[in-house]
Symmetry: C2
Subunit: 360 residues, 2 copies
């Protein structure tokens, strides 16, 4: 049987070695004769899982000591409410850079709590979708913070520069975290739903600078309150222990495989290989400008959309899974997070070339 | 090796057969060559998992058609905020029956959103902790709803009657759901964190009567909004798919094993066996009145608390795990949810008798 390569945008595939280890110890973890998901979150063995995961993440991202790491329930959409409720303080507005579907979704939720100042960042260059340079974003004076989403999973757009501001920068890194090196100290809050580069769905990691913990509004549910979560060591509520454990295994796998720098190198190779295949052909196209193409999510369309079904069917038969594009965009999308090996992208490119030759 | 019996209060043990199936298909689910946790929540195979889980739960609890079933992220504590934010409407108060630790925790959170009318339900009868009969609870006129927690996991207290009211009754059934037959039509909202009788931590099931979907306050985060969750089929956010899948397996296991009526029968046998062992001895004691003893969580103390450590050590050596009582109560606690077989309780009782004989 050919190897399976799963290009799902999320919940996404996890590193094979992690999944194999998790399966092996599924019924008998740590010699306990029971699963890690069946023990108390306050038991010593689980507390070590929790602490190790935090420390490994701190090591991987070089998180400064004045940043708290929170393991929250839910995904990024919970944070779309948590961000304004935690950070607005007395302010009544915040800047939201709109660079795609998810950035816009964050605005929708923020409107319940403030009047977001929406900064349209999308433009067109040479007929391709592009992002206006950050130096041209009209950042407001009154904003409590500046929110942006550096990688748009659906649109396949990446923002490579940072807002030019001394306000706290808040970044939805659901599909970028751990895929490349970042300087955490430049951010006020980084948050990421786990189900792309971290672990299974149902967990969200929040990295928050400690001077931002005292601004929460009274109506903020405690389970979304950064200060409460910090003080209770992310165990105010029974946490999603199995997702936390699996994420910890992913962090250890990342460290054993060269960390974020090594991932970034392979991720750039993977993306270059796939975009090159698209660009060399008239049969496939990607409509994002080279400056803003996502390293993680590569949407592409067939010049003959009537072949979409056949493409997906034949890809599936070759073990190339979940390539169907998001319903908002159509066509195809290959999500190539950390867990996708270079061989997977090579297999996809080989198939794409064969399919083109047969159907041109 | 002796079998392991895990008495954890939650995250709690799951049915062995479920865990074995999950392990077997961990890397290759449904013939896909990938894990169920690595596929899109919107893929056909996962949508079937989701729909089956809902239907099986509806069958198990005979949930009427005018009730919605929501698969939410987080545990009961998220609902402590969601309940008032979803249900208060124009009202400024709700009745909260205080029968233990969790009922009181719900009050703490509700105070952010209203002035809860706290009805102290705990009393003493013959020197034992007991619950005042529901007919004597001073239900208020202005309350939007009446909240109670029929089983207190920490205190080991059970409330067996329902508030006498025509207001919506809201019940935190985290540790009671599926353990016995209930009449859903008597409730406005039933909610339950999964990690006791349903599945792994990180999921909360909400069963809500459909006339209560239009009362949400403006500040309610969308991920806690019952109407949004219903309209989006519990997929407003990427749901915790693996927890949903495992819960679905538990529901199928319950159906295959006689459903809730069969569980209730065994649960009553298990509890009777354990309380009998405690009551026949001066060496162990449980301080809850017989009327209000929990079927699910049995706290007990040793007459010689200096033996607590030895008791736990020897129990552990016999494969009887996680018997240490909650730090708020001390002593021991045996949580005997659906997944705990009668043999597990028998093994515990055998050990308790031996330990007593050796240390009396």
């Amino acid at each position: 049987m050919e190897p399976i390569y799963n290009f799902s945008a999320g919940p996404a595939s996890l590193p094979k070695a992690v999944m194999q280890q998790a399966q092996k110890e599924f019924l008998d973890w740590n010699g306990l004769g029971t699963s890690v998901m069946e023990i108390s979150h306050r038991s010593k063995p689980f507390l070590k899982v929790a602490a190790d995961a935090e420390q490994d993440l701190r090591d991987l991202l070089s998180i400064p000591d004045n940043y708290k790491v929170l393991f929250c329930q839910g995904g990024a959409r919970a944070q779309f409410a948590a961000i304004p409720m935690n950070l607005l303080g007395e302010a009544t507005t915040a800047d939201y850079i709109d660079g795609g579907y998810w950035a816009a979704s964050a605005v929708d939720e923020a409107q319940k709590y403030c009047q977001p100042n929406v900064i349209k960042a999308m433009t067109e260059i040479d007929g391709k979708t592009a992002i206006i340079p950050a130096s041209d974003w009209p950042i407001s004076e009154q904003a409590a913070y500046v929110h942006f989403c550096p990688n748009e999973t659906i649109d396949g757009i990446e923002i490579n520069d940072l807002p030019n501001t001394d306000k706290p920068i808040v970044a939805d890194m659901s599909s970028t975290i751990l895929s490349r090196e970042i300087d955490v100290s430049k951010y006020g809050v980084i948050y990421a739903g786990a189900q792309k580069n971290i672990g299974p769905a149902g967990l969200c990691i929040v990295i928050v600078r400690d001077d931002l913990l005292d601004l929460a509004c009274n109506e903020l549910p405690s389970i979304l309150n950064y200060k409460v979560l910090f003080e209770k060591e992310s165990m105010f509520n029974t946490p999603p222990t199995y997702a936390w454990y699996l994420s910890g295994l992913v962090f250890k796998w990342l460290k054993a495989n060269g960390g974020v720098a090594a991932m970034e190198k392979v991720n750039r190779e993977k993306a270059a290989l796939l975009y090159q295949c698209i660009d060399e052909s008239d049969f496939y196209r990607n409509n994002v400008h080279a400056n803003n193409r996502s390293l993680m999510n590569v949407p592409f369309q067939l010049a003959k959309p009537e072949l979409d079904g056949l493409f997906l069917e034949q890809a599936e038969a070759r073990g190339l899974q979940a390539l169907k594009g998001h319903r908002a965009v159509g066509g195809m999308r290959a999500s190539i997070y950390n867990a996708m090996p270079l061989e997977g992208v090579q297999a996809l490119v080989d198939f794409m070339k064969e399919f083109e030759a047969e159907n041109k």
